[in-house]
Structures are given as C-alpha cells and as structure tokens.
Symmetry: C2
Subunit: 238 residues, 2 copies
C-alpha cells in the first residue's frame, strides 16, 4: 500500500520488476509522468478464467486512474462488478540496434497498475469526471460544445481505480554490447520513435467561418503528443 | 476456427465485436495489416486468477504470432505452460473533436487475438525465428552482427500462437454529431496522430568510419513507423 506522504510506491510481490530489475522504477514522479504522457491504456481483466485486454482511453486525477466507455460494453459491465484489473501503459521511445541480435532492444517506458476497478455511480461525479477528461485534452472546450445529455450520461460508464499496486519499467540510452563485440565493423545506435500530430483536418460539415480556437493551439502540427499530454496534465493540477 | 482457404476469420462469441459493431472487422487483410504495422503488443494472461498485461515486441509469420523474452521471465514461464492469452495490438490514428463531449472520439485500429501460447522448443526453429525478427526490422542485419550464442538462445524464450480467434476494431473519419449540433459555432474535426522516427543517434562507442548501412535506409528521419513496418512485412513474404 502506498504512503501518500511519500513519493514512492512500495514494490509488492506482484509489482516488483523481476526481469532486468535495474529497469524497475517505483517513484511517484516517474510513474505519474509515464501515465500522464499517455492517452491509451490496455486494461486486462478475467472473464470465466480467460484473459481479455482492451485498449481504452484513460486519464489520471491525483491518485486515481479513470477510464470510460459504453454502459453496454462487456468489458465495463464485468469491471463494474469490482473485478481485478491490470492497467498497462506503454510508450515506444526508440529502436536500439546493437552488435548482436541478443542485445537489440527497444527504448520504452511502461507502467503496470493493479487494482479493483470501481464504477463511479454518482451522476454528478460522473459528469464532472467526463468533462474533466475533455478539458484535460482540450482546455476550454466544454464551454464551446453542448453539455452532456441525461441519456448520454446513462449510456456512459465511468470506471476508477486507486493507484497503489504499481510499478514502472524504463529503458533508455544506447545499445549495451558484449565487450568483444565493440570491435565489430557494424553500425550501432538508436533510432528515436515519437508519436507526432499531423495537420488538423476540419470536419467537412464545419459551418463556414469557424476556425480552430486558441484553446487548441497546443495541438499544432508536428507536436509530440506524449509531451503535450504531460504539459496538459501539469496545467490541470496547478 | 478459420478456414485457411477463406480470407475471413469467423467471429466467435469471444471475438465478435459487441459495442459499435459496425466498427468490427474479421477479414484477414484488415487484421494482418493492423498486426504487421505494429512492433509492440500487449499480452494478457492470468496467474492465480489475476490479470496481467505485459507490453512486448511481437511479429507475425503467416498464420502465427511470435513474441520473445527472457527465459527467466514470469510472464513467459507461465505462458509456456500453454495458458490462454489475449494478445492485443492498437494504433492511435487521430483525435476526433465533435460538437458534444459524448461524440468526441479516437480514430484507432485494434486487434484482439485469443489463443493458447506455445513455446518454440526446437533450438534451430527458435534461432531461425529470432533471426527472422531481426531481418524483418533490419533487412540484411544478421549478416553484419555476430551470430546468436548458445547461451543466448538458452536465455531466450520464443512463444508462438496461431491466429484463429481474432477480431479487429477500426474507427476512421471525422466526427459524427447529433443532427442539431451541426448548427453549433464550434470547431470540429480530426487531429491525426502518427508514430514517426527521429534522426538516428549513432552509438557513442561506434568505431570511427562506420556509417549506417544501406539496409537501414528505410528507417530515415520522419518515416512513419507503422507504414515502414507494413512494407517490411510484405517484403518478407515476397
């Protein structure tokens, strides 16, 4: 269990990074940064003993993770019973080319969070959560779009889970080769990978004379999405 | 079960896309294209009734998926017992901004493949598989790097799973709003998202005079990684 006054999560038998444990991270700053830089997570859950992994939008608010979906979804119906989930977030940061196949690798940042998902049943809290998610990505947008309708709120399930059993795994830097292999006449290095934004495509049904509002300036062409998301998450806290 | 002479996978109760079923896809071409464009998958499995989701490198060869890792890994030790796994692959293609919060969305392509993972026990097949993975990403590279050592082969586990119970889910295009909302003075559209390559960073221990070989030309700056991966996968088949 985390001590909320400490900046670290204690590794448990379930969260301790076993393989390449030097890549394990348990500090709040690293874990939150990885979560906040992501838009999509992969939620794992068990139905009738079988595993399911569903990619889904998620966000963090303080010490909790949130994700949402249709109230009719098999995944959320099952999760709302309070079953255990594993919520995993990953970023690819680079291809690592070494001097042997064995040492080829990937630079990445990943978080695995374990817990029991709870449904956010209170309508007011649910609406506030959904609006906060829109505002997190698109500051000011809930003032421009129309408000949530009661039937939309009913059709949407909001799930939440405390961040307590959690760990991160991070690989950075260049290839690490076996000593004799450095003598090989072989190129080695890193090819960075980044998730970037393209130029906005206005809806074909857009009313004439409507341009992108200043509130979306942070989503300009060539922006690096994970960095944009991290800045947005920090802004929301301030 | 798939009919290997047909180009479609039959949906089963487990793979049939339930929510927004118009987004469901079961044809081989769509499913293979989504798989081949990805480098990382999220493998879900169950240990003692609890779900785990591990991000891991994977690749497709014909009608099978492969992933590898350390022989000491908890994930692979467990999976090598032939337990059920759910291997999920997802791509983010764009942020969809609609005129209501409810219709905000994400353009994405995702595949969920269910099956029982099997270990590739034969050393020759394992080495061939691992080399094929290096060649898939970096054509010609196994001729430049040193060969796999016996202890490296022993330290690596290669898993494989038939692609039979599988489905894809795809969202493309602009926002779909409620009819009255098109009258709102609100910007709407799509902001594309792409995974792009940065400029290669040579290893600091690189021997002088070694430049990137022509075999890595496909990994040039600003290349779109999923498209590069798809082209590489096709090239391997030919």
């Amino acid at each position: 269990m985390p001590d909320s006054t400490s900046s670290d999560f204690s590794p448990t038998p379930r969260t301790r990074v076993r393989r390449l444990h030097e890549r394990g991270r348990y500090d709040r700053e690293t874990i939150y940064a990885i979560l906040d830089a992501a838009l999509l997570c992969h939620v794992g859950y068990v139905i009738d003993g079988l595993p399911y992994v569903t990619p889904t939008l998620f966000w963090r608010e303080g010490e909790r993770l949130y994700w949402h979906g249709s109230s009719a979804s098999r995944m959320l119906r099952k999760q709302s019973e309070g079953i255990p989930v594993c919520l995993t977030v990953s970023h690819i940061d680079g291809l690592v080319l070494a001097r042997s196949g064995f040492h080829h690798s990937l630079n990445y940042r990943a978080v695995m969070a374990f817990g029991n998902a709870a449904i956010v049943a209170d309508d007011e809290a649910k609406a506030a959560g959904l609006n906060a998610f829109v505002e997190r990505l698109y500051p000011g947008r809930t003032r421009e779009i129309r408000p949530i309708l009661p039937q939309e709120l009913k059709a949407t399930t909001l799930m939440s889970m405390a961040i307590d059993k959690v760990s991160a795994k991070v690989r950075t830097g260049g290839p690490v080769d076996d000593e004799p292999d450095y003598a090989l006449d072989c190129w080695a290095g890193v090819i960075p990978v980044e998730m970037r934004l393209g130029a906005a495509i206005p809806d074909q049904h857009l009313k004439p004379g409507i341009s992108m509002p200043a509130g979306l300036d942070h989503l300009g062409e060539d922006g690096v999405l994970p960095e944009i998301l991290r800045v947005l998450a920090k802004r929301q806290v301030e």
